[in-house]
Amino acid sequence: MLLNMGPSHPAMHGVIRIKVIADGEMVKDCDIDIGFLHRGFEKHCETGTYTQCFPYTDRLNYVSPLINNFGFAMTVEKLMGLKVPERCEYIRVIMSELSRISDHLTCVGASAMELGAFTVFLYMIKAREWIWELVEEVTGARLTTSYARVGGVKGDLPSDFDGKCRSVLKQTAEVLDEIDTLVKRNRIFYDRLRDVGIVSKELAASYGMTGPFLRSTGVEYDVRKATPYHVYDRIDFDIPVGRRGDNYDRYLVRMEEMRQSIRIVEQALDQIPEGPTNVDAEGKIIPPNVMADLGKFGKTAGLLKNEVLIEPTLEGTQKRFHDRVRADSKEAWIPPKEQVYSNIEALMNHFKIIMLGHGVRPPKGEAYGAVEGGNGELGFYIVSDGTDRAWRVRCRPPCFPIMGGLHEILVGDQIADIIATFGSVNMIAGELDR
């Protein structure tokens, strides 16, 4: 019997169609049809400037947009040979790991819900909410963060971030323990996942699967360890690996990874340096319109000693914070607002960066940068022809190889197991179809 699951099936996480040839309840053969959410990410990136690509990367894996942001920024920086300030590297690590936790929370919660454990879903979404509130406080958006910039991040962390973040991590760790109590040794959950959707090492490797999928088979591969980027080499953490490569192992790997991420964030919060403070201020804070007008009418004497009362959404970008989070390069992104308002060189620099045809222009060449996304290796390959637009952008979405091999994994299981296995893939259509 031919059975169609999807494209809009209630248990499908995104729009995707699985054609199943079923013999009774058994899956005899299946075929996976993807591409329903194709938006032309790569082509879009070629038509906009490098900075304009960040909002597109938000929409790849929309459960952990910050990782995508940083991955893209890192690759462009590689092309330009830019070095990012240390504090900014730590901010990137912290925000990436928070995103990873939220990604895994969503995946485990949603797949548990599909198996009937609705409470687990609610508790995990509650924890995700705490994390997203933190993300909102730092980036100014919950989901469409657009936080990274070439050569840094948009703004520094808020001053009360450390305490808030630690308390969120503590609460999240409690939630994880509760989830384990609820489902880990629960017979229904165990029997539905154990020895279902088995992936062998060979199969995973031959399709190029990465992330929790590969690690559940026992292969110790994690981009953060294999080719450390940001400051992951200074942080002590373990890679959880499974043995059998079934759905239950993937559940365990994801749960352990969240605990490791909590460890990473805590260490990063301990290690994060303050960075240069850049104060030559008299401590006077003047409103931006007043400052801009003074600057325009030439009353610039001593103006730079003051700080601007910045617009709330730009909090953290003032001159005081600028050198902590932005690379020291006039090629990268705009100067701090105080300088733009009060001197003409900075204003010209500001205009140059934004004007089409100028701005961020990496030299001719190509670069590949990979980060460990929620589902595995997320890579960006950028070819630059020296203009302010990429000549070619290629994204290696971590879901894609997994979906490529999924038909082999599903065959031999029952129809109801498709839901469990598919849930453990954590397919994000935005990332898969780009």
Binding site: T144, E178, R187, D238, V253, T313, E315, L356
Partner: protein
Amino acid sequence: MAIKVEEKQLTLLERLYVLEVVRGIALTTGHFFRNMAVHIARLFGLAKDKKGSTTFQYPEERRPLAPRLRTLHRLTRREDGAPRCVACMMCETVCPAHCISIVAGEHPNPLIEKYPTRFDIDLGLCVFCGYCVEACPEDAIRMDTGVLEFTSFSREGMVYDLNKLLARSETPKPNEESKVKTA
């Protein structure tokens, strides 16, 4: 270093399931009574800093917004009430969604030179990236209104023109910034 995740077989007791059910129910009931206690305490005006549930009873109850949250745009005003914008087109250029369109006019005051005769933002296209705010060298455009609800029955209704964008800004007093108008 790699750590193996634990994978013990279920014991007979766990296979019997009864104990697991009891453990699970104990946990959820614990949550239920704890939250109930907070709800009741709040009813009597106690425990104001705690919340019984994570949900908000929207629209009666509003979630506190982070100060950095990017919300509906507004154009700030000069002391005479005119828009601060000098039609430099920076925001139009940087916008990744190409949703801002400005028509510039010549200002009678030679110190201002240019001003926008038209300034439209199509909020149906806007992706709320905040680049326009970052790119503005005049502090003329802001996204700090705290307004999240701006819907319309038509696409035309989503296009905000100069008047609509200025409507949420107060005319500033000397040496002050143009604040958000509270309705």
